[in-house]
Structure formats: C-alpha cells, structure tokens
Symmetry: C2
Subunit: 567 residues, 2 copies
C-alpha cells in the first residue's frame, strides 16, 4: 500500500494532476499487441475500454486517447530498433466489425484546450513516424479495415501505405467530424485525403460531410482506399499483400535488434534527471533549462561495438532522453515559457560520434539513430515554447547537437571566458550531418532554411565543417544570433528571458510557428500549419466547445445550437 502510494506520487505532478508518461513497453501495453512473424509484423488494436488515461470516459469501439497513442508510438519505435528484420506491418483491429471509432469524443469534450492541441500534435507525429518508417526505413504498412474506420480511425489508416477495406455492405471509412462534432479531423485526415491520396476536392467535400462515410466500390473509386475485398477472402488477401510488400521492401536490417531498455529517469519537484540530460525548472521565471551531456568516451570502433552498446550508445540514449523530456514539457509543464538549451562536454568527441554515424549510415542501426534524431529535432521545431541556445565555455554544440542552435528562435554565444574560468572559450562545430541528415518538416535543412536569402552563406558554413568556430567567427558566418562578451551576457540573456515570459503565450506560439518555417511547405508541414492552425481555431469556437456546441452536446440527444455567422 505504501509502495502503491509512492508509485502514485511519482506519477503525479506538483499540483496533484496526473503526470502523463510517454514511456512504456510491450509487456505493459493495454491497448495494442505487437506480434512479429518472420519479416511481417502485426499491430493489433484492441483498446481496453477501462484503460483510459483520465476519468470520465470509456474507450469503447477502439476509440483512443493519448494513452493509446503512446503505446502505438512505442510499438513503432520498437519495430525500428528491436525488429530490424521486419519489412511490412499490418495494422488491424481485434474488435469485430469495427476498426476504430477514432479519438474518444467524451475525452475531447472534457479535455482542456491545451490538452486537445497537444494530443493532436502527438498523434500527428506518430502518424508521420509511420510514414517515415515506410519512406526512410522501407517498412511498408498495410491497414486492414475490417469494419468501421471513423474519424481518427480512418486517419490512422491514412498513415498506412495501403488501405484494404472489407466489402460486406457495412464496413465504411468516414471523417464525420464536421457533421457530427463541428470540429475537423484532427490528425492529418484532410491533408492526407487531399495531398497524399489526392482525392478530388469535390469528392473529398462529399466524403467529409457524410456522417456514415463511404463504403465498397465508391470508396475505391474515390481513392479513399486502395482495395475492397469480400469478407471471406479478406484475411488471406491482407496476408498476401503483406508478403508482397515485404518482398519489395528495401530495408537492410538483419539479425537481432537492440533492446530499447527503460530510460533512467528521476522526477523531482523542480527537475528531471536522465542519464545524459538534466532538466531544471526555474518556475518563477517560467524557464526550463535542458543540459545535454556529451559523450564520456570515444565512439566504438565498429558497428558491432555500437550494437553491443545498444540503448546505451551515446547518440541513441541522448535522443531518447531528449524526446521524452520534450514530450514531458509539452504535456505536463504547460507553464514553461522558454526552453534554454545548454550542453556540457567535448565538442571534438561529439564530432567523433558524428563521424562514426556518418561512416555507419548504411548500417541499419546507424541509419535508425539518425532518423530518430531527425524526428526528435522536428518535435522540437514543433514545440510551442520559445527556444534559446546558450553557448558557453565547456559546451559541446557540435554536429548533431549544433542543430539545437539552429532549431532555436535565438542563440547567444559567449566571446572569450568568464573571469576565473580557465576552460577554452566556447566553440561550435559543423559536420556533414548539418547539411542533409536532419530536414525539418518543410523539407529543408535548418541551415538551408536559415540561409534562404543567400545559399552561398550555407556553403560558406559548410566549407568550415570540422573546425572549431569561436563566437565571433560563428556570428560572422551567421550561425548564432548574438555573440556577446562577459560584460553584456547576463543582462542580455536575462532581458530576453524576461521578455519571453512577459509576452502573450498565444501570440508567441503563432509567431514562432510562422518564423520557424520559411520557404516551402510539404504535406507534413501543411498538417502542422494550415490544418492544425485551423483546427486549433475551431477548438476555441463556441460552436464546437460551448455549452450548446456540438462537442459538448454529442450523445446527449440535444442538438447543438450554432452561431450561424460565417467567419
């Protein structure tokens, strides 16, 4: 009993609310089963009605909440690292005649605005991760829709490469959010319908305004699914397609994977400590400082050495910890205005690890670690907190870690030393990874996006890769925002952080979401821009969330009452 209480305290925040935990593992899944058979994995969605993350709703009909999606995201990561031999994945449901009813409506109706927004952001990232698994790791996904796939259920299917729908006169795909709930499909559905599946816009309009959705031949004719199969042949057809996809896979993985062992973490009132990452909260100032630690030892000398280290391999461990910390901040620490990135270590060692990964980028594990960093960095780009990197003596913002400098809204770099500090002045260093390995969601590298005006500036920076660049050089090359000496540093940084805490959080979210993504848009960035921004707007409108709004009145038997003005 005492232990249960202790456990419970560990899982609560200072204010008593539940700490949402993004760490799980297959033995702890309540909603999914991951089975691997040769080169084909099956991910079975079997949501435990009583396993909701919060009180007040049951997860009926494979409806989901953030807890369900955390398990899905975990399973996808494990396919990458623990099952390098898997070449195709079948997503299916264990519920008869139901694939998934989508995001739980009662959960959405009761959730805070911030939770809804962050829930959608995370589920979007998970689905982007499924597509990345296909595009960059060669693991093709088939979604076997055995019945109703409504709203978020169909949006999950849309993340797959290939959607198969049973043809039994009842099974249908639908996006009934607009007619039923007065909101948009929140997990990329509209953009994937228009931009991935390229459904004609008038068909998409008819589809998205039809509560009961579309079934059978029309679903295929309108490009909403790839194949419609009679019920008697469905399971066999799914397996045949999975084998075909696996056979065509370009995945290079082989042999046993590595175990994604539990992260070493400890939560305290004003800090979270990981093995390689410390997070400290200065709550009065609304600042979280993340200090990333560089490697303690040189990289291994071979791929086998990397495999042997497994989850303890420095770049992998740090990426997983950073990802968990960002998600923790997003969902559990809403009051943090700004994240300050710092680092401690030897930049030469970081460069050495990057050279190792560069040399082993064709090894399945090296490849997956780079892809993980790419996704973690994208998650940072999409985090609605002001981001600043402070580059001081003793820091190691080199190569992959230098991406944090470029992901930040601003960076400050100290010129020279502080009195009494004998360490060498701060230096940053670039590597090949900064010029291609980590595209943002708009398809550009951070340096490509930064130097949109003059690509030659990017090339000038590129020519200096491998060199230790001091503050003045870094500023001259346009790599940091402000290079300051000891006299100005404290005031400048303090004023910046005070400003960020004093401005409207919403205005900053909008400002940063615009300035971080200059240049082109991709399907992915459109989901986080055009689609999500509109959805967030609708999530604020009384027609959806007011007491007479559709989200609140759904299932009550009362019709919603709308303000009829079109805006």
């Amino acid at each position: 009993m005492a232990e249960a209480a202790a456990h419970s305290a560990e899982h609560r925040l200072a204010d008593g609310s539940i700490r949402i935990d993004f760490q799980t593992e297959p033995s702890g899944y309540r909603h999914w089963r991951l089975a691997v058979d040769g080169d084909i994995a099956t991910l079975v969605m079997d949501v435990d009605e009583k396993g909701a993350l919060f009180d007040g709703y049951d997860l009926k009909l494979n409806s989901y909440d953030l807890g369900v999606d955390i398990e899905l995201a975990d399973a996808i990561e494990r396919l990458r690292f623990e099952h390098p031999n898997v070449r195709a994945v079948v997503l299916r449901s264990a519920k008869p005649r139901v694939f998934s009813a989508g995001a739980n409506i009662r959960m959405l109706a009761g959730a805070s605005h911030a939770h809804k927004v962050n829930f959608c952001k995370f589920t979007n990232e998970t689905r982007n991760g499924i597509e990345d698994l296909s595009e960059n790791s060669g693991v093709k996904t088939i979604c076997a829709v055995n019945g109703t796939a409504a709203g978020g259920g169909y949006e999950l299917a849309l993340a797959a490469d290939y959607i198969m729908l049973v043809d039994d006169g009842a099974a249908a795909v639908s996006l009934p959010e607009v007619p039923l709930l007065a909101v948009l499909p929140g997990t990329g559905g509209l953009t994937r319908v228009s931009d991935k599946r390229k459904v004609r816009r008038d068909h998409a309009d008819a589809f998205c305004t039809t509560e009961e959705g579309v079934k059978g031949k029309r679903a295929a004719d309108w490009r909403l699914v790839d194949e419609v199969v009679p019920g008697s042949k469905f399971d066999q057809a799914v397996m045949t397609r999975a084998q075909e996809f696996a056979a065509r896979s370009t995945r290079r993985g082989d042999g046993p994977g590595i175990a994604l062992t539990p992260l070493s973490r400890s939560f305290a009132a004003d800090s979270v400590n990981y093995g390689l990452l410390g997070v400290e909260f200065r709550r009065a100032e609304r600042i979280a400082t993340m200090t990333l630690r560089g490697p303690a030892a040189p990289p291994p000398t071979s791929a086998d050495g990397m495999l042997g280290l497994g989850a303890a391999f420095w770049p992998l461990q740090l990426a997983r910890e950073l990802d968990d910390a960002i998600l923790h901040l997003r969902l559990n620490e809403l009051d943090v205005a700004a994240i300050v990135f710092k680092s401690a270590g030897d930049p030469a060692q970081v460069l050495a690890y990057d050279a190792f990964l560069e040399a082993h980028q064709d090894h399945w594990l090296g490849h997956e670690i780079r892809l993980l960093w790419k996704r973690v960095l994208k998650r940072i780009d999409l985090t609605s907190r002001s981001l600043v990197t402070l580059i001081e003596p003793g820091s190691c913002f080199a190569a992959t870690l230098a991406e944090l400098v470029f992901a930040s809204d601003r960076s400050y770099m100290l010129i020279g030393n502080r009195e009494g500090d004998n360490r060498p002045p701060a230096a940053i260093a670039l590597a090949d990874a900064n010029f291609g390995a980590y595209p943002m969601s708009n398809g550009l590298t951070r340096l490509g996006c930064r130097f949109l005006a003059n690509p030659s500036d990017r090339d000038a920076a590129r020519a200096r890769r491998g060199k230790m660049l001091d503050a003045e050089t870094a500023q001259e090359l346009g790599l940091v925002t402000f290079a300051l000496d000891d006299i100005d540093w404290d005031d400048e940084v303090r004023v910046f952080l005070e400003e960020r805490a004093s401005f409207s959080p919403d205005a900053l979210t909008g400002l940063e979401a615009n300035l971080r993504f200059a240049g082109p848009e991709t399907m992915e960035s459109k989901i986080f821009a055009r689609l999500s921004a509109w959805q967030n707007w609708i999530f604020q409108r009384p027609n959806a969330i007011g007491d007479e709004g559709a989200l609140k009145r759904y299932g009550t038997g009362q019709k919603p009452i709308f303000d009829t003005r079109r805006v």
Copy 2:
C-alpha cells in the same frame, strides 16, 4: 434632408448596421491621393483622422481601417485600367515623421471577430494585388518610409518591391504586435519577412519582439529594408529609384486608359442587382444565389472595339460586379451559409469572348482583364462560404465562367431537360483559359489542382476544349461532381443546401480552407493558411481579446493579464 435620409437608408443593412461599400473613386477618397506624372504614380497616404468607417476611434498617425484600405485597393485598380502608362509607383505618407501606425488598434479592439478576420483577408488581398501589379503588370512599387512604419504600416511597405527608409536616428520599421497587442501582424507581415525578404529567422524573431523596431544600418543589414538614406537626400533618392524602376518596367500599356465608371447596382431587402449579375437571398435557408449573365452580343472585332466599350466590355463589367458582390457578401451578409452560382446565356458567346481575350492577351487591356478575373476567382476561393455551382439548361458555364464550377466545393449538372423546357440540355465548355490563365493562390490552375492524382485526366479534359460537353460527358471527364436527372435533382440539391446550413459554420470554414488547396503552398497561400489561421486562433484567445487581454487594455495604462499556459 429627405434625400440625406434616403441616402443613409441605402447605405444601411436591414438590421440597421452600416453596409460597408467597396465602391469608391479618386474624387471621393478621404485618405489617399493618387497623382500621376508621366510614367510614375505617387500614392500619398494622408489618413483623415475623422474619416473612420465606424464610430469610436480616430485614425491617428496614418492608422487605418477597412475604409482606408478600400480606397487603396481602388487606387491600385485604377492604376491598372485608367493609367496604362504608369510603370512605377511610389507609396508615401503626407504625415511628418510617420509613414503609418498600421491597423487602428481601437478599431481592432472594438471589432467583432468576423470583422477582424474579413478585414485582414481584404487587406491581404490588396497587398497581394500590389505584388501582382509588379509581377504580372510590370508596375514596380517603391515604398518611401519617411518615419515610423509600425505593424500594418510596415506590412504595407513589405508589399512593395523596394523599401527605402530615411536615416534620421528616429525612423524605424517595426512589427510590435506580439509585444504590444498579443496578436500577430495580420496582413502577411511574418510571411513576407520570412519568405519574401528572407530575413534570417533569429533576426526576424528579434525584430518581431522589439516594440520600437529596427532603424538605420541594422534595418538594411537584416534585410528589413533595401536602402537607408539620409533625410536630406531622401526625396531625391526616392525619385531617382522610381525613374530607374520605371525605365526597367516591362509594362506594355500605352495611350489613355479606360474609365472604371461606377457600377450600376441596386440594393433591395433580399437582392442586389447589377447590370450582369443578380444576387438573391433566401434568408430562411441562408443561401445566396448569384446568377451571372452571359454576353448579349458578340465580342468586338478589334482591340479598339474593346477599348471603346471600356468598363462596359462584358468580361470586365462582369468581373467587377462579381468582385463587388463577393465582398458585399463577405462583410455585410455574414449569415449566408452557401453561395449558389448559376448562369444564363449562350455558352458559345462566352467562348467567343474568351477567344477574343486569348487573341488579345498581349494587349494591355486584355491582359489586365484576365488578371482581374484571376484575382476575383482567387477571392472566391478564399471566401468562407460553401460554394456550389448548379449547371442547368440555359446556363453558360464556358471558359472563364467554367472556373466557377471548379472553384466550387461541389457542382451539380442536370442531365437532359425538365418537362416543358424546350431549351437544349445544359452544356459546359472549356477553353485555353482554364489551363493557365487563372492560377489559384497555391500556384496551380483549378483543373491542375482538381486532377492532382492523374494529370492525364487534365490532359483529357484539355483535349475537349471548345466542345459543348453534356452532363454525362462532363461527369465522365471529372469536371462536375454529380450529374443528375430531373427526378433526383431537386431532392439532391435541397438536401445538400440544407446540410450546409445545418453544419457548424466554423467547421465548414476550416474544412473548405483545407480541401480547396491541395498540393503546393506559395507565399501567398501561406499567408492565407499558416499565418491567417494562426492569427484567427489568436484573435479568439482571451490573452488578446479578453477583458484583461492586451488588445482590450492597450492604451488604458493597465497591463494585460495573461493565462501563462503555452498551448
């Protein structure tokens, strides 16, 4: 006195509120002066403090409201049609040491959400029009910033090709919305800073969070302006640049222009009637039906004939009327859920006019008429009402008018005739104009966007241009959504319109804003998507518009109180 009262009634809506009128002419301007000297025009902003559109605020320091922007938009149109010899435009202020303080804050604080959104949409379209004038008509714009250009004032400058800032130690450009008002710059500022002027993102972050803005050399170094000039040399430098730009202009216009004579309009309780366009309101059903009338006579036989007709030339008259009607609906008829497009006339005549315009596309007037249609159609794409086209016997949706079919969320086409109707069955017809002349804001033609999945479908449609396509053929080619016979027509159309009126207006706005724009994004579409959707969200948030929010408290001496949660 009686006449004044009658005049006043004509300018009010049924509910007594002011009808915002988008028609004006230079002699009626209160805020701008348009002067033309040879090939250089000067547009002088000299806002009349007492000339606000609504009560409750004064337009101090060249701040503006929608009324000011309606004059600007009108002036730009007149440069196109009435002054074909103009090759460069100088935008300047008549106020000493102030260019413009931007959108009036008291106006924003008092305006309804719908007004704010539509105000920003219109001002964005006006600025896009200035850029279109440069890009497609060869009229280059110089903005002479003689003092403070804050917020919307700087955003107006950003629409110019070249920004000149006086260097007097005080003049500065700024986007102080985030720190001062807790909103975003609402007229494309962030996107133009990042995507047009390609300001480095950390510089942009610093700029947009600095109330007082940036002046002098730093403004040029950060790419915020193109040139900084000492006060004593400013006027001369501006004129020199204007002459240089005019000399490099590719504009082909010559000789006198045509007069954009006042539109013939009459407003009644449930209709607006123009010469070639009728708008009828079925208020109980929340529907506006727009019926466009085809040409009554064949096109002229020469460019001189077109010039002689001037504003009465069928395509020009209809485009101006349609533009005015759409703007009237947007701002004055908020309760309209859906716009139904109908047409009446001979499709062969419409094709003939399109062939005429195609043949005269290199004539300055033919060119400008095509560009006007492009902008009107874009305005329709961006109108937050459900759009449907009904194609029935007697209609003339051919060539340019067929774009309304493709701009609509859905189209219905009648197969055959109705009993007792001896007219030939409905036909639509395509022309070259449907395959290039009218790109959407995302850069694609409507048919290119429609057939994103299979460009060969677009080519198949193209091969049939000039042919009268009946309903079944049009459906087979994918040009209409549903081809229906007389038996199904009434019910299907009625159900569709009832549905649209029953759904949440906000959800429909979000749905349509996403489904209408498949494929790439451009700077222009980013402004209407990423930027505007975020801005609309912020315009709903208590941190901006609540009683303790920044927009409400600005100028009261009380600091705003923010909900500090980052979302």
